[in-house]
Symmetry: C2
Subunit: 461 residues, 2 copies
């Protein structure tokens, strides 16, 4: 698929063929053709393509991108790549590029923009736009206020649907376009208090003489402006919303959140979930320059090194025993690693339960019992296996029994730490997904080595 | 927030207070009140609440749920909980509960339903419904075909918008409702070939005498029916779609995918990503009975035990060296674990890049070089740190140097394995996120122990 023929592209998903052609042209060093191919892609695909090429070659290709598309592309890029390309765009070009964005999108981007550009951008706005922009900007990105659009199409409840349609036609004629993703209008009373939603599908299919108040859907609960973006995401997921009204503490309408912004949150959360378990930040660029990216990873390695040295110190306490029975050194990593694996399974389940608010103070105790029971079952089963292996390997019955007993102890430790560590971290306000793994492994390593080497010191050596 | 007062609930997000009251009533054993509180929740919240209570107490509460809501609740439950509650519902009640679902939802659910219920359900359908149901059911759940609704509201391109509105009013009068999440209508020609989308917002705001063909948006590319659900998800995310048409190979319209189904895919993918890294399946129920849940986890522990014994065997090869210098046993886990941590960071980045198709055959080599450079930088830095620690600890210069050298080797191994393992697994069709971690840790453990103990055997012992 190399032509731009729209008939042929009708059944090709997402310009996948186009992307392949782009990479082929890029690989052959044909920048001009690569640039042309880029033009035919969607801004999000351009962002993907830019992130997939080496850091130092991006600015050259960035120059080939149409200025009118650059605003959307910047919005789709991850933090590191976005910062890089903003630094490679002139101030005037940036200002033109940003004109195509909505106010909530500008507010998402403005932390990355040079102050002088933000100033110029705000100065160039008309009063209404500036007001909208400032209304969104004042709320943190991760709240309903940061996600909302303030261009919500609003109607009053005491008018007929015919007047609503007349109003929409006037609005359209005046502004040339309606707000994006308009599936419904927000209904308010005289005081701008939220009352309900008027679905466009009702507007086009029901009797035009009906009053808005008779048709509007009142079961859509408005979202308080300070609600966290993760909770907004869950509301949209759970209730299959396309758009939802945002209100202040007194129920007055402030704006509207649309599902496309919520999908961006979902994507971010999903990536964040996976990345933070490896101590990486979500904005990490796979082709970022080596030195800064190595330095960012160094911190996580350092944290884990402290962990590893704590375990080493514990082993060192039993130096004499290892000196006498060297087989202890052979089997001790098995006990430690099995506890870590079992604990990670529990931790993953409990962290999910906490995020979904399914694990609560009133059922945490029951959950702990369940995990301990499960750890005990697996502990006994695998203890028998490792004891038999160790006895066959070394011929030392005593050592096999100690090995098995230590494994039971460490799988129980994994179950307990996997349950209690995320609960404790959440209580003191630390992200269980980021720090949970480190604390858990510290616990299972220490208990694993102490139980195995300690029991061996008592019964084997 | 304990009353059902709708004024008061206006600013409470998602019945969070209601859920708390439910758990309080449940904890006090007041099943009747718990049941009443459940009634006031959204089906997805009922599902969350059911999953958050112990397995054996769910059936009693399930009986309190209104039959009309049970279909939606079943749809929202995770696999294990869903199966449990279907088994606790009478056949006739199931049939009534399922009536509220859409055809694509029924098709999602039918693998969990008893055959006799599916048969009865299909027999009770009218011809049109049966046809729609079978059209969706024949496609796998993880394709565009499995996600689509076949009730797409369709119009022809050669009519005016006034006739479209007249048609929608007739349809509404006849069917009592329009398809859910209707933000647009699909425009086709006489042969049912997809032409474009007519946005409802255009329908209500532009001149009613205009022809559909002049207004319809043609830039929305239709999705081929066999497209994978993950790619559908990315299309919706990237292009901010609310709904999109699904077509066969010849471009004929088959149905419509709406964003709410795509959000379910996103949620599933996000959960799956995190869960499979711990060897858990996405449907895992946090309160499932202990024995089966312990058995499911046993497999993953077994896989890791094989890994651990391979490492133990490698250590065993150097038994004599450890016997002579017991400090080797103290430091060897540090080398192994640091390689594992560094490798996991690379693996996480590369697996994300593969999923987003940013890592391709033409840039994999460059990526490997980058990761090796980053591993080398961190290796040298941390090698100096561990060498100093080991020299201060043991007073053995030789041992410190060997320790540092082994750490460099193992961080490089982590970088290489973290890049090559997911690439290789993807090539042979194995999910890198599930198997990648196991293979990686096997590599960094073996190389970690061999390099440290091997170098020590040559230079220290």
């Amino acid at each position: 698929m190399t032509s731009g023929d729209s008939k042929a592209s009708a059944v090709v998903p997402s310009g996948a063929g186009m992307l392949d052609s782009f990479h082929a042209a890029f690989e052959q060093g044909d920048m001009q053709r690569a640039g042309q191919l880029l033009e035919s892609l969607h801004p999000s695909e351009i962002a993907d393509a830019l992130e997939a090429i080496p850091w130092d070659q991006r600015p050259a290709l960035w120059e080939e991108v149409d200025t009118a598309l650059k605003g959307e592309v910047l919005l789709q890029l991850r933090d590191e790549a976005r910062q890089q390309l903003i630094e490679n765009t002139g101030k005037n070009e940036l200002l033109i590029a940003l004109q195509s964005l909505e106010m909530d999108e500008l507010a998402d981007l403005d932390a990355s923009l040079p102050i002088s550009v933000v100033d110029a951008m705000v100065r160039a706005m008309d009063d209404q736009s500036r007001e909208r922009y400032e209304a969104v900007r004042d709320w943190p990105d991760d709240t309903a206020g940061g996600l909302m659009d303030v261009d919500a199409a609003v109607v009053r409840s005491d008018v007929t649907m015919r007047s609503v349609i007349r109003y929409l036609r006037q609005l359209r004629a005046r502004e040339k376009q309606l707000p994006e993703h308009l599936d419904s209008l927000v209904v308010v009373d005289r005081d701008n208090t939220y009352l309900g939603m008027l679905m466009l599908s009702d507007l086009v299919s029901l009797d035009p003489e009906t009053a808005v108040s008779d048709i509007m859907q009142t079961e859509i609960r408005p979202i308080p402006v300070e609600t966290s973006s993760e909770r907004v995401m869950r509301l949209f997921e759970d209730q299959d919303l396309i758009s939802a009204p945002v209100v202040d503490a007194s129920g007055k309408l402030l704006g509207r959140i649309t599902v496309d912004d919520v999908m961006d949150v979902m994507r971010g959360v999903a990536e964040h979930e996976v990345m933070r378990r490896a101590g990486l930040s979500q904005g990490t660029d796979i082709f970022a320059p080596v030195l800064p990216s190595a330095m960012r990873r160094a911190l996580w390695l350092g944290v884990n090194l402290v962990n590893a040295f704590i375990a080493a110190w514990v082993i060192g306490l039993f130096e004499d025993s290892i000196d006498k029975v060297v087989a202890l050194a052979i089997f001790m990593p098995v006990v430690a690693s099995m506890g870590g694996v079992a604990g990670t399974q529990t931790l993953t389940l409990v962290a999910r339960g906490l995020a979904l608010e399914q694990v609560r103070s009133n059922n945490a105790g029951r959950l702990l019992m369940r995990e301990i029971a499960s750890g005990l079952l697996n502990g006994v089963f695998w203890a028998v296996v490792v004891a038999i292996v160790a006895i066959l390997w070394t011929g030392d019955m005593q050592l096999g029994l100690v090995f098995g007993a230590a494994l039971v102890i460490n799988l129980l430790t994994g179950a307990m730490a996997g349950t209690l560590v995320p609960l404790a971290l959440q209580r003191i306000g630390i992200d269980p997904a980021l720090a949970g793994g480190v604390v858990l492994i510290a616990a299972t390593d220490v208990v694993g080595f102490v139980s195995f080497l300690g029991l061996a010191t008592l019964f084997v050596v």
